[in-house]
């Protein structure tokens, strides 16, 4: 849950390159940051707080070096303080290390090192690494060998980069945390994720678990745990660095909400034919049953997937990945589908590994090409939403649900009407964006005690997602419930000062029953906002209406969710929240 960067070969620009890289990785964590640069000496500057605090600390100081590493942190061991910020050093202050992940045996290592006379300056698990390197250097090992031996002692998950004073190389290793190498004409970069150096190069090498990298100004080399050189493929990144700007919006989140028509088009491109009535996904599965594993927003998308599979007559269940990893159900020949935007979510990866151990076939549904999940699963379905920077997922939720709808149609076969409904989706989302009154509704309910979201069928996960988005960025209390569950408990929470958002589309039984639940809350005096396509009379019981275009029920969920995204955004904006970087959260959660 942190971001690491490294840079070799941009002599005069090492520092600015590292800071630029960190700024692009802030989505991975932003409670402290630091850099280490190496010439003959080691220079380390690190600060608790956002990257700007580090920039302020660097201001006016001549920090330079031929090689360097950097880190942006999201705390797991020890609070965000200057001391706990990375890079961490050994006692001699000649070794500096940045680490993303969790070292599970650090207490034991720390005790051993303390015993041997090492002094620790932080509360972190990561600090054991520089001290271990120091020990092996003192024992007479060459730098690379010392680094390898240190890493071999670690248990847990890590992407690590290290520098040593007087050595113009960066040493790196990965196990269960992402690490990618960037190849420029005259420089090399290392990072947790491509945006850190995308501005400089589009050529990348993805490291795999158990691999080591040694990078100098003249060459890069990737080896396995035994030191054998690996023949690595050089990939080309397709998206441009500019896709990560705000394009005139105040926040990435609003920009990304507005990008949905485009990202949905990309998800559909060349996968569907209306005239032929076909869906072709380049994924070869034919499951008798499906188990989804996912976290957060992706879990809600998976939950939508469950409904879609059920409608198609295929049994499906969604599991929270963190629970699945520790209490897995029998897999019984089911296809296990991991839904993760980043493809690096530790909980989801662990759940998938558990499923694999039990012999399950696995499918990744992810946004990031080359991500760990895509390499570990048997097959991958890409959602093609493009880079998402806002911590609160928006466009990737829509694209995940659409990709799952495509997956279901690839199993059942599609009619022309099915495909037409999907092809109409981007235009319908555009209509929501053109006509939404969400800002007015956010204003009307500003300052309420709590915000509840209810729905049935596909609108149940939409309600959960609506509430999650709301709480993530507004910090206000919000909860989503299955509409029918209200009367079994949560109705006790409903008052005149708790607006209830109900998603009700279509004119079928689901709508009728949800309207019954709407009446229940209306009778208790709660203000009601319905999200509706006008094919039912839900609006009669509502104080406010958020309209969505009439559409296929499968895509109505995505449209309703777009309205709720906008409500959450405007509510948080009214409260002047840090919308793109909400407190305590990070985009890609690479720790368990």
């Amino acid at each position: 849950m942190c971001g690491i960067v490294g840079c070799v070969g941009r002599r005069d620009e090492t520092l600015s390159t590292l800071v630029h890289g960190l700024s692009k990785l802030e989505y991975r964590g932003y409670d402290s940051a630091g850099v280490a640069l190496v010439d003959d000496d080691l220079d380390v500057v690190k600060r608790a707080g956002e990257l700007d605090d580090l920039r302020a600390a660097l201001d006016g100081r001549s920090v330079a070096g031929r090689v360097g590493i950097g880190h942006t942190r999201w705390s797991t061991h020890g609070p965000p303080t200057d001391a706990n910020a990375h890079p961490h050093r050994d006692c001699s202050e000649r070794v500096a290390v940045v680490h993303n992940g969790i070292i599970e045996n650090y207490e034991e290592l720390r005790a051993e090192l303390t015993e041997a006379g090492h002094e620790f300056r932080s509360d972190t698990d990561s600090e054991v690494v520089p001290h271990l390197v120091e020990d092996y250097l003192a024992a007479g090992e060459e730098t690379e060998a010392a680094f390898r031996r240190a890493v071999s002692r670690l248990e847990g998950s890590y992407a690590i980069a290290a520098v040593v004073a007087g050595d113009d190389r960066v040493f790196a290793a990965r196990e269960d945390s992402p690490l990618v190498l960037g190849l420029d004409d005259d420089a090399y970069y290392l990072a947790s994720d491509v945006p850190a150096f995308r501005e400089f190069t589009d050529r990348v090498v993805y490291l795999e678990d158990g691999e080591f990298a040694v990078v100098s100004a003249d060459e890069w080399r990737v080896t396995d745990a035994d030191g054998q050189v690996r023949d690595k493929a050089v990939d080309t990144v397709e998206w441009s660095p500019e896709e990560t700007g705000k394009s005139g919006y105040d926040h990435f989140m609003l920009k990304e909400i507005h990008e949905q028509p485009r990202s949905l088009r990309q998800c559909l491109r060349e996968r569907v034919s209306e005239l032929g009535g076909t869906v072709d996904l380049d994924v070869d599965v034919a499951p008798d049953g499906v188990q989804f594993v996912a976290c957060g927003t992706s879990y809600h998308a998976a939950f939508c997937g469950v409904s879609l599979f059920h409608e198609a007559g295929i049994p499906a269940q969604a599991f929270l990945a963190s629970e699945y990893a520790t209490s897995p159900p029998p897999v019984d020949g089911d296809l296990v589908v991991g839904v993760t935007q980043s493809g690096e979510t530790a909980d989801t990866l662990n759940a998938l590994r558990e499923a694999e151990r039990r012999g399950a076939e696995t499918l990744a549904v992810t946004n990031v090409v080359g991500s760990t999940v895509s390499r570990e699963c048997d097959q991958t379905l890409y959602i093609r939403a493009g880079p998402e920077i806002g911590v609160a997922a928006t466009k990737t939720f829509s694209s995940q649900v659409l990709a799952l709808a495509l997956l279901v149609l690839s199993q059942t076969g599609a009619s022309r009407q099915d495909v037409a409904a999907l092809r109409d989706l981007p235009g319908n989302v555009q209509q929501v964006l053109d006509e939404s009154n969400a800002e007015e509704i956010a204003q009307a309910y500003h300052g309420s005690d709590a915000y509840f979201f209810i729905g049935r069928g596909l609108h149940y996960p939409v309600s959960l997602e609506g509430a999650l988005k709301f709480k993530e960025i507004s910090y206000e209390h919000a909860e989503g419930f299955a509409a029918g569950e209200l009367k079994h408990g949560p109705l006790a929470l409903v008052t005149e000062n708790t607006p209830v958002f109900a998603a009700v589309t279509g004119d079928g039984e689901l709508a009728r029953k949800t309207i019954g639940n709407v009446k229940e809350v209306e009778a208790r005096g709660a203000p009601v906002v319905v999200v509706t396509d006008g094919r039912n009379d839900a609006a009669r019981y509502a104080d406010h209406v958020l309209e969505v275009p009439t559409s296929d029920e499968r895509t109505a969920a995505i449209l309703a969710n777009v309205q709720l995204q906008l409500v959450a955004y405007h509510a948080a904006d009214l409260l002047d929240r840090s919308i793109d970087k909400p407190r305590n959260l990070a985009k890609s959660v690479t720790v368990e």
């Binding site: 485009r262 060349e270 235009g427 555009q430």
Partner: protein, 395 residues
């Protein structure tokens, strides 16, 4: 010093193009099947501009969503004009975003790179330079007189017919234009850029740069048909050329039994069914669908348009997401079209459909019909003249 910055004025609605501008500003209307503004930015980037400043206002998210933070690798700085108080006022909003010298262009007319390069070169010798070109219909635009390379008169929509040169709306200025704008009197509360340029003309400070090439403007909805014809004639489309004058995006699907008659361009994700005849002079936008045995001729069908089986559309313009059911017929032909208080006689126009119009099936359109945004035309109706936005038309 050579100019590397351009200010693009893209904040205005273009209200004579209603209903097509209901959800987007005029620069985002299609020239064939790409927004007009893309051609403007292409011209600037091709001329070597390295920094784009877009002044946006009316429905600005449509511009921002389409272009994002860069265009063809050139960074875009968005500047917001909150109230649309004229092109001069729009330029004033960009004062903080430009250096000593810069290009200014209108975002709502298709131009070419050579016009931009020409004003950049001319600006080296003069504080202000303005591209002019010959136009057969000068009285519709800003007309100019030129003597010895200097603009001597700048007249908006002159009554007299003797003008042959027009203002192409491509300028190069230094920062002194901001002082001129500051002392230019507003007209009915608005500040047109041309008013400031006129005072520079009076001082004989504006260099005229004669240029030629593609320059097309849309004033009224049906002008988009002419714009598309011109763009197709010049082959300025962004799709692989499958046959002579037939351009089809890679992701489009054309049935083997469909006929594309050039010049025609088919946008990404579009589908054309068996027996359909599309063209000549047709532009299909992104994700458009033409059903079996439909005939589409001389028309611009924008993003997400859906044309039902056996429809006949001649000289039609659609907005976004227009769904025309089976057997919708707009036979085209000369028509008298009313826009505001003015009646335009003898325009060649089948019909104009605003964004998200729904025609259920068997709808007939008399030549020149203007169907407002979100209107719903029920089965079998005959429409003519203007249909109001959001209206429901039944037999």
């Amino acid at each position: 010093m050579t100019i590397d910055t351009a200010v693009v004025l893209a904040a205005g609605e273009g209200n004579r193009l209603r209903p097509l501008t209901h959800n987007r500003p005029k620069p985002m209307l299609p020239a064939a099947n790409r927004p007009i503004l893309e051609y403007v930015l292409d011209a600037l980037v091709d001329a070597g501009v390295e920094c784009l400043c877009l002044v946006v206002g009316y429905k600005r998210d449509r511009v921002q969503d389409h272009f994002g933070p860069t265009y063809r690798g050139v960074p875009i700085d968005y500047v917001v004009q909150k109230k649309q108080l004229g092109s001069g006022h729009a330029l004033q909003q960009a004062a903080g975003a430009v250096d000593d010298s810069f290009v200014v262009v209108n975002g709502d007319r298709v131009i070419q790179a050579k016009m931009v390069s020409a004003v950049i070169d001319a600006h080296e010798d003069a504080p202000a330079a303005l591209a002019v070109l010959e136009h057969g219909n000068a009285q519709r635009y800003g007309a100019v007189d030129v003597e010895n390379g200097q603009i001597t008169a700048l007249v908006e929509k002159p009554d007299r017919r003797e003008f042959r040169l027009i203002n192409a709306g491509v300028y190069a200025f230094d920062r002194s234009i901001f002082e001129v704008l500051a002392r230019t009197e507003r007209i009915d509360g608005t500040l047109p850029l041309t008013a400031a340029v006129e005072s520079l003309v009076d001082e004989r400070k504006v260099q005229a740069v004669r240029t030629n090439g593609l320059w097309v403007d849309a004033t009224y909805p049906w002008d988009l048909l002419e714009v598309a014809r011109e763009v197709l004639r010049h082959g300025l489309v962004e799709a692989p050329e499958r046959d002579a004058d037939v351009w089809v995006a890679d992701s489009a699907r054309i049935d083997d039994d469909a006929t594309l008659q050039g010049p025609v361009v088919v946008g990404p994700d579009s589908e054309v069914a068996a027996g359909a005849v599309v063209g000549p002079n047709v532009a299909l936008g992104r994700n458009a669908t033409v059903g079996a045995n439909a005939t589409v001729e001389g028309s611009v069908l924008d993003t997400d348009a859906r044309v039902g089986a056996a429809s006949v559309l001649i000289d039609c313009v659609t907005g976004h997401d227009v769904h025309l059911g089976p057997a919708t017929v707009a036979p085209g032909g000369p028509a008298d079209v009313q826009v505001g208080d003015a009646i335009h006689r003898g325009e060649r126009l089948g019909a104009v459909f605003g964004d998200r119009v729904r025609a259920e099936g068997g709808v007939n359109c008399a030549p020149g019909a203007l169907v407002g945004t979100n209107a719903n035309l029920r089965t079998g109706v005959v429409v003519s003249g203007q249909v109001r936005a959001d209206s429901e038309v039944i037999r």
